[in-house]
């Protein structure tokens, strides 16, 4: 069984982002970029399935500028078999990403596509669901456990009230939540090996996909800052403040 994994290049989760002075976006020059953490979990899950003998090939795909190659290399170093890079410098909204993925799915015919539940830059949480809808495939979002069989999958999902389990027929789309697994670090020998693995490059035009954005970003601004930092000396003082100053208890 073939698995397709979508990996997005995003500003590293440890970076404290800065809004550009002209309010057109956030500063990305000289900022550390990494694979979206949920996508690392997606790659890890695919590798574990391969190690368990349930999956024969893992294809990692990333869409965006030339540097996305690095993100694909990371996936290859972790254990993916080959990469696909859809090259574009345009802004990609989730709907466009889903359409590109659909076009690639038509060529690659995977039985399972794994995505992160959410990209930590746009915080959209849409792409996997959109892809599933466009393909008319079932979906298992926010997965914390996967039991993959040859024709179906049982997926345990993190929902607001706790956990929910569903069963889907393959082919299907799954999106990862934090507790699905703990992604491995790529070892040095595997990083070297990954340099020899193939990355195919294509473009939205070649795939015949219209990626024109539907939303115009009018402005990106900083959120209101909180004035914190006041320290108190005792719990008695705290309870007094909460009762009489803040009046919240």
């Amino acid at each position: 069984m073939k698995v397709l994994v979508a990996v997005k290049r995003v500003i590293d989760y440890n970076v404290k982002i800065r809004v550009k002075a002209d309010k057109t976006g956030v500063e990305t020059a000289n900022v550390k970029m990494s694979m979206n953490p949920f996508d690392e979990i997606a790659v890890e899950e695919a590798i574990r399935l391969k190690e368990a003998g349930k999956v024969s090939e893992i294809v990692a795909i990333s869409m965006g500028p030339a540097q996305c190659q690095e993100t694909i290399r990371t996936a290859l170093a972790m254990g993916a078999d080959r990469g696909i890079h859809v090259l574009t410098d345009q802004v990609l909204e989730p709907l466009a990403v889903a359409k590109l993925l659909k076009a690639v799915v038509a060529k690659e015919a995977p039985q399972l596509v794994i995505l992160g539940k959410q990209a930590i830059d746009d915080d959209c949480n849409q792409t996997g669901q959109m892809l599933a809808a466009l393909l008319d495939w079932p979906q298992g979002t926010f997965a914390s456990k996967l039991q993959l069989e040859t024709e179906s999958a049982k997926i345990t999902r993190e929902v607001d009230g706790g956990l929910e389990t569903i069963e889907v027929k393959l082919p299907a789309v799954m999106t990862t939540d934090l507790r699905l697994n703990e992604p491995r670090y790529a070892s040095l020998p595997n990083i070297m090996k990954a340099k020899k693995k193939a990355i195919d490059q294509t473009t939205p035009e070649t795939l015949g996909v219209d990626i024109a954005p539907r939303l115009t970003i009018l402005q990106v601004s900083e959120p209101q800052k909180r004035q914190g930092g006041k320290k108190l000396g005792s719990v008695e003082e705290l309870v007094d403040k909460l009762m009489h100053e803040a009046q919240v208890i």
């Binding site: 500003i11 669901q129 959109m130 079932p138 929910e164 069963e167 027929k169 320290k231 705290l238 009762m243």
Partner: protein, 316 residues
């Protein structure tokens, strides 16, 4: 201009999240139809009909919809969506699961997690874990939107009762079905609805130690939350997680105990009215946003706080 709001409920009563979405729809303007999808859920529709601002309630009630899948919810909503200018659902795991499917099938963008309405086609939404706010304008004919509950007041029952119309559901899909759920039985208020939250992090060291927080929570009528580290360590279940990728909360009072204050945690609670931090590390980032901080060992401070609350709150 008419909005369609998809109600979140448990087949018995409406979830609070729905009321926040109705307020967001009211800010957009025009009529508001509210769609209730479920099994044996007419009481939910009756409750929805009382909400201020609701013009009409649509009820899709069928046994197969008891645990409707994203596939089935999307198919049903898709059938109705074309007669609306806006389709809205809460940005909860319920809304996030099916609404993007509707958007894709209509070939329109989804605007996720809006925190303000600036006009019928212009919305604000947090990005980068709430460290930036994007103002976006949609060019699509139908706007598909999920709503951040904490950013909008909750619509309350008013003096008018909206009419209820039934709608039929398409046949259930054959590729996906519900198997089971482990839904926590809460002895305390739900996180997103609580007025006060006491949250614990890795500093709590064990699930057993959360009893210290529960005791405080019970005195305050509070909910108990947690950081990702506390959930990942198995101290508490996943539904306790507050943050960028957990629940977004904005209570009157948030007490963070043994939580360092990572960006991803702050993303879920920094809009709380009053924040208290208890941490032994005076450099912990949580103090930068806390209105009141206590530096010290939580295993001394929390029991002391508990005792002080017992004393002060009973003497009132």
């Amino acid at each position: 201009m008419t909005s369609l709001v998809i109600a979140e409920h448990d087949n018995k009563s409406l979830k609070g999240a729905t009321g926040h979405v109705v307020s967001a729809a009211a800010a957009i303007g025009g009529d508001i139809d509210l769609l209730v999808i479920g099994a044996d859920c007419r009481p939910v529709a009756e409750e929805a009909a009382e909400l201020t601002g609701v013009t009409k309630v649509l009820l899709a009630d069928a046994p197969a919809l008891e645990h409707a899948t994203a596939e089935d919810l999307a198919a049903l909503v898709l059938g109705l969506a074309k007669s609306y200018s806006h389709v809205l659902a809460p940005a909860t795991t319920f809304g996030k699961n099916f609404l993007p499917r509707v958007a894709a099938l209509l070939d329109v963008a989804q605007i996720s997690d809006i925190s303000a309405v600036d006009g019928p086609d212009t919305f604000e939404r947090p990005i980068y874990a709430g460290n930036a706010i994007a103002k976006v304008q949609s060019r699509d004919t139908i706007k598909i939107i999920t709503v951040r509950g904490t950013a909008f007041a909750q619509a309350k029952p008013g003096d008018k009762t909206a009419p209820i119309e039934t709608v039929s559901a398409p046949e259930a899909n054959k590729v996906s079905h519900f198997v089971g759920a482990e839904i926590a039985q809460l002895a305390r208020p739900e996180l997103t609805a609580a007025r006060i939250i006491v949250s614990g992090g890795r500093g709590m060291q064990s699930g057993d130690n959360f009893k210290l927080l529960e005791s405080v929570a019970d005195k305050l009528g509070a909910a108990v939350g947690a950081s990702r580290a506390a959930v990942d360590s198995g101290f508490v279940p996943n539904d306790y997680q507050v943050g960028q990728t957990g629940k977004i909360v904005a209570p009157d009072l948030y007490i963070a105990v043994g939580i360092s204050g990572a960006i991803q945690h702050l993303a879920g609670m920094k809009d709380s009215k009053v924040i208290v931090a208890i941490n032994k590390d005076e450099e912990a980032p949580i103090f930068q946003i806390a209105d009141y901080g206590l530096v010290g060992d939580l295993f001394q401070l929390v029991p002391a706080l508990d005792a002080e609350l017992a004393k002060k709150l009973t003497n009132r």
